[in-house]
Homo-oligomer: 387 residues x 4
Amino acid sequence: MTTLGVGLIGYAFMGAAHSQAWRSAPRFFDLPLNPAMSVLCGRDKNAVEQAAGKLGWDSVETDWREVLTRDDVQIVDVCTPGDTHAEIAIAALEAGKHVLCEKPLANTVAEAEVMAAAAAKASAQGVRSMVGFTYRRVPAIALARQLVAEGKLGTIRHVRAQYLQDWIVDPEAPLSWRLQKERAGSGALGDIGAHIVDLAQYITGDRIRQVSGQLETFVKERPIPTEHSGLAGTAGTERGPVTVDDAAIFLARFGSGALGVFEATRFATGRKNAIRIEINGSEGSLAFDFEDMNLLHYYDAGDSSQLAGFRRILATEAEHPYVAAWWPPGHLLGYEHGFTHQVVDLVTAIAENRDPLPSFADGLQVQRVLAAVEESSATRQWQEIAL
Amino acid sequence: MTTLGVGLIGYAFMGAAHSQAWRSAPRFFDLPLNPAMSVLCGRDKNAVEQAAGKLGWDSVETDWREVLTRDDVQIVDVCTPGDTHAEIAIAALEAGKHVLCEKPLANTVAEAEVMAAAAAKASAQGVRSMVGFTYRRVPAIALARQLVAEGKLGTIRHVRAQYLQDWIVDPEAPLSWRLQKERAGSGALGDIGAHIVDLAQYITGDRIRQVSGQLETFVKERPIPTEHSGLAGTAGTERGPVTVDDAAIFLARFGSGALGVFEATRFATGRKNAIRIEINGSEGSLAFDFEDMNLLHYYDAGDSSQLAGFRRILATEAEHPYVAAWWPPGHLLGYEHGFTHQVVDLVTAIAENRDPLPSFADGLQVQRVLAAVEESSATRQWQEIAL
Amino acid sequence: MTTLGVGLIGYAFMGAAHSQAWRSAPRFFDLPLNPAMSVLCGRDKNAVEQAAGKLGWDSVETDWREVLTRDDVQIVDVCTPGDTHAEIAIAALEAGKHVLCEKPLANTVAEAEVMAAAAAKASAQGVRSMVGFTYRRVPAIALARQLVAEGKLGTIRHVRAQYLQDWIVDPEAPLSWRLQKERAGSGALGDIGAHIVDLAQYITGDRIRQVSGQLETFVKERPIPTEHSGLAGTAGTERGPVTVDDAAIFLARFGSGALGVFEATRFATGRKNAIRIEINGSEGSLAFDFEDMNLLHYYDAGDSSQLAGFRRILATEAEHPYVAAWWPPGHLLGYEHGFTHQVVDLVTAIAENRDPLPSFADGLQVQRVLAAVEESSATRQWQEIAL
Amino acid sequence: MTTLGVGLIGYAFMGAAHSQAWRSAPRFFDLPLNPAMSVLCGRDKNAVEQAAGKLGWDSVETDWREVLTRDDVQIVDVCTPGDTHAEIAIAALEAGKHVLCEKPLANTVAEAEVMAAAAAKASAQGVRSMVGFTYRRVPAIALARQLVAEGKLGTIRHVRAQYLQDWIVDPEAPLSWRLQKERAGSGALGDIGAHIVDLAQYITGDRIRQVSGQLETFVKERPIPTEHSGLAGTAGTERGPVTVDDAAIFLARFGSGALGVFEATRFATGRKNAIRIEINGSEGSLAFDFEDMNLLHYYDAGDSSQLAGFRRILATEAEHPYVAAWWPPGHLLGYEHGFTHQVVDLVTAIAENRDPLPSFADGLQVQRVLAAVEESSATRQWQEIAL
């Protein structure tokens, strides 16, 4: 079987998740190509060498440009912060490497547009690209998409989606890079709001056309970290301004006319990673919460009044997407499995010479929705999403 | 419409619930006879007069024998402690009064046998009797019975039932009359275990034939109350022995061969009135918890693997038992509604000249199961239930 | 004890709920005044006489003006459609009668303003008025208010509230009066959106100052009913336009800066009466769903990371609002109990010579929020709520 | 770092789970020794070679005795059916290899006794052994143990535990080896009942001393499989007797006096892998369900009546057992993570020269409980568990 060498750029949280996926996918799934964990890339040589040992990569590079020149690399997996995505991904595509790029695709629509254009051009040469909205690969979510595609919900009327976290509720939590616009591009909106926009569009098979939104930064200043250890660093005594949103809420109108209500926040005390999505259609409804990620709740309006009720579907049957490769019914999957499924889908598409989904164009469209929310928050009016 | 005069004996917790039922039933349901709240009976004249005013009864008596002589009383509703049930109920039946008797039917099997015989004799004269297992009248429970009767569960394999409370977890809770065998007959077993035995048999339409049980009194001595105010009184400094069980657990074998597991306890810290019953059959399953009493969970094994899941049926549709008389879908009913439904069923049976259910014979059979559990706890062996 | 005669105008769904409340309140609570169910009023003499018999009222009137002249009426309870509230309530107040008026207070802000002015004037004469937002009286909701008032949530950051129903999902459901603007004033927004606006403001103790909303009528035409039986009538072959909203969604900004997301719809397939409200503050969070109305979920951010979690509080303890009058812990209350508690609060306020809450001014303010949502839906911009 | 070579015997379901654990543990945890996936062993050379490639093992053997002679093997991981455990594990220990043995430890108490004796003898030589009750390593379960050990539950009163599956509800499901006593030793009792016995004893830190049980085989005959593909094979036309239990229920008495109720069944229609355990103590309670394996529900009786409620603890905080090595809060773990944690605990114990838990003696004691249940089912009496 042909080997598919992978070069991973970045080795923090996402790097660890991607590494586990590259390692696990061939152990559970019958892949048409054999991924090799060729090279891990990071700027700090000592650190990247230590990470490569830990995460199981064969070699290291300290300059991502070097990764693009290597013959043992066919896929470049971009897990760096958003402000570097465009440069790396475009160069990789131009070097003929398939690209898997973490979300958000870029920090700006302009960058994302260039990336999408590069992806389209590369595709013509058989070079593939994909953006990492992994939650699509949670079996319960993929099942939700299936049910909608099969028409089980009829005409979609409502989408309500929330991504709720609480990690900066404390006003003394330090001013990490994620709270600085120049680094992170945006706050809750881009970081987690992007996921629920993608999920809502993916499951419904529809696109958001208009939004009215509001961003908010509840805590305007935070202690500047003195030392950058871990996710957030340690708070110092000086304070600096928070330049991204703590929370974003918005209304949406889909192409079909369905109404959407979205909320992304880091201030939902007690909610750790609650991705909730509920969809009501003329024939049925669906509900999902990532804090219970193996479950999909499904209501079939065709059931009799006597017996109708939301069905608690434990999406661990062999008939459910991705599940046959894993464990018997009732043996739950976790967060990281979505990344493994992403590898499966990407490698399969490459082997079959077709473009995987979600594409960079999909990533760009999500970016446009987020930009429209931001614009709407400023203008206090509804904004259209350019097609 | 003919009036049906009611005489209620007892005015504590159950008296209040029954009063609300007699008052409410004709306001929501179309009854074939018109219940009149004729007389409330209690030994303390001042107290019973005050209660009658509060609960809405037209007159009072201080001797229950007087109630039986009154022409304006056609139904005697017995809400006294269990050690007085037999005497009152039998005398009432002999006086030609229909009888509604609270559970447990009696404190002993012997008493219950005499009562059942009296009920059978009275029935031949058109005098009706009924034992007050009101939980049968919770719509979700009545729906459960319907589904089993319609064959939706196939062959029943398992019943697991628990009645969990925690009101005497504190070892300093006083030694109330409910903890004394001579008054209460039994502890958790008779008080709450009786309900889950009845529910299990009612829903399955089957009978328990054998049991292996264990009773336990975790706290052997408690402070003797100095003053009997309210349910439990106030703890004094002297201590006396607890002579009933704090908890009862037992295995059961049903006539059909189904296996049962039962647990009744007042020591389930944090569970207030959790009546849980779960039934697994070859074609489907049911689950119920009184702490969420408007819900019935139903699994249909005939659904496809892709879409099967326990359905959360909100038993508030007009198609559900008793519900059409009340509110629109989604507007919940509460604890007391079961008592109102009991009145409806009793009055309807009387008007239609047929014996209502559950009968005294049903109450006797439950008593036999409880006695067998007690016997089994002593002999450390399985016990048969006499038919 | 002084008697307080009640005259109830209207005898449909709300009339039945109010009747049960007037009947039950004195049976469970120690009221300072004794409500008498004096007169039921409706235009159709036969129908109102039948209803009075069923619901337990002493007499009937067919003209509400007559009710206002009766000496045996001290309270006028207005349960008619919204377009008649203003005229009846104002006349009643001017006649010196206390008024309980169902929500929404009126169909327009203009009417509501006149009503609030009339209420203020009446108050100076010791005549009381109250608007019927009964969900405030669900114990779990009243507990939520208590916790916020005690500061247990700290600074409120987020409110997300939904009122979800599904009774007109079917496009062939007939064009009932509730779907006609001239009768109902508004659709989901006024009928059920009003409740979540009130609840959100009540629990937080804060007011909505700005909104951005969107109304939608998914099904534009429906069959005109040929016969008005029941809630909706029977569909005929002719069709007419639906002139109210099927669903309303809106963003909100509270006075404190908190963000709100609201959704009221009759198209949430499978949700029957799901009033959900979730509030996140800097110190804790709360969550409630009316489909599980005896529960309040509470997260205390002060708990250790090891042990923190949303607490499932079963609001049936004697320590919880209104509960001591009812049943032991774990014995659930239902929908109608909120109406009984409303009677208790109203009668108590009258006896204590103070204005009960929520006042007509509160009702007017809710109306202003709803009007701003409607305005915003038309202008496609945020709207301020006049103070 | 010293390498610790692993030889895995067996490559079916458990073999796949163990392989993923050996592969993943060093990637997320800082292990004191470096496990090497040296050799996979199975009788069929082609099949084991294919499995080794798939699962990532360096070499293969077809005779387990060969594994014991290899210098690159320091741990023998036994994942074969129960009837071979004793022979392999004892030989491995005698060969100086550490042993990880899947549960149940053996098919009979007699075998388990010899194994425990061998383990004790080996321990004196510094050779370690461990039995694979992996559910102990689910973070929520390990947290439960912690809370009990810290005294947060006070005196334990009740344990109720269920292991519910439904994979042979269909009477036409074939007669697989798991339904034959000579191969499987026992049915639901040994296969899944063993887990809840271990969990109940582990979490409480107590031992079961007496049991009264009942085994049942609901479907006495099943089609003999014609072809052994997968777990169960394909049903043929001939039938053979099922010689193990389909379900086992039993009461238990713990050393402390606590009462236990246990149920293990393969006939709980709709329950796929529901391991439920609920523990009530004088100071608090715990509840867990594997179908929601990241949650632990905890009730603190010390909370005020107003605020007390079961806390839904999402056991994904860095403060929870094992979690710090994985993902941020709210990012769920799955079934296989327990196996990874098992590797961590085993490797750590080996490095630290101490015996890991659960020991073979623990496995033996579980076996004795199961044997007593079986004995009790035959004698219809309570049975004592030998210490």
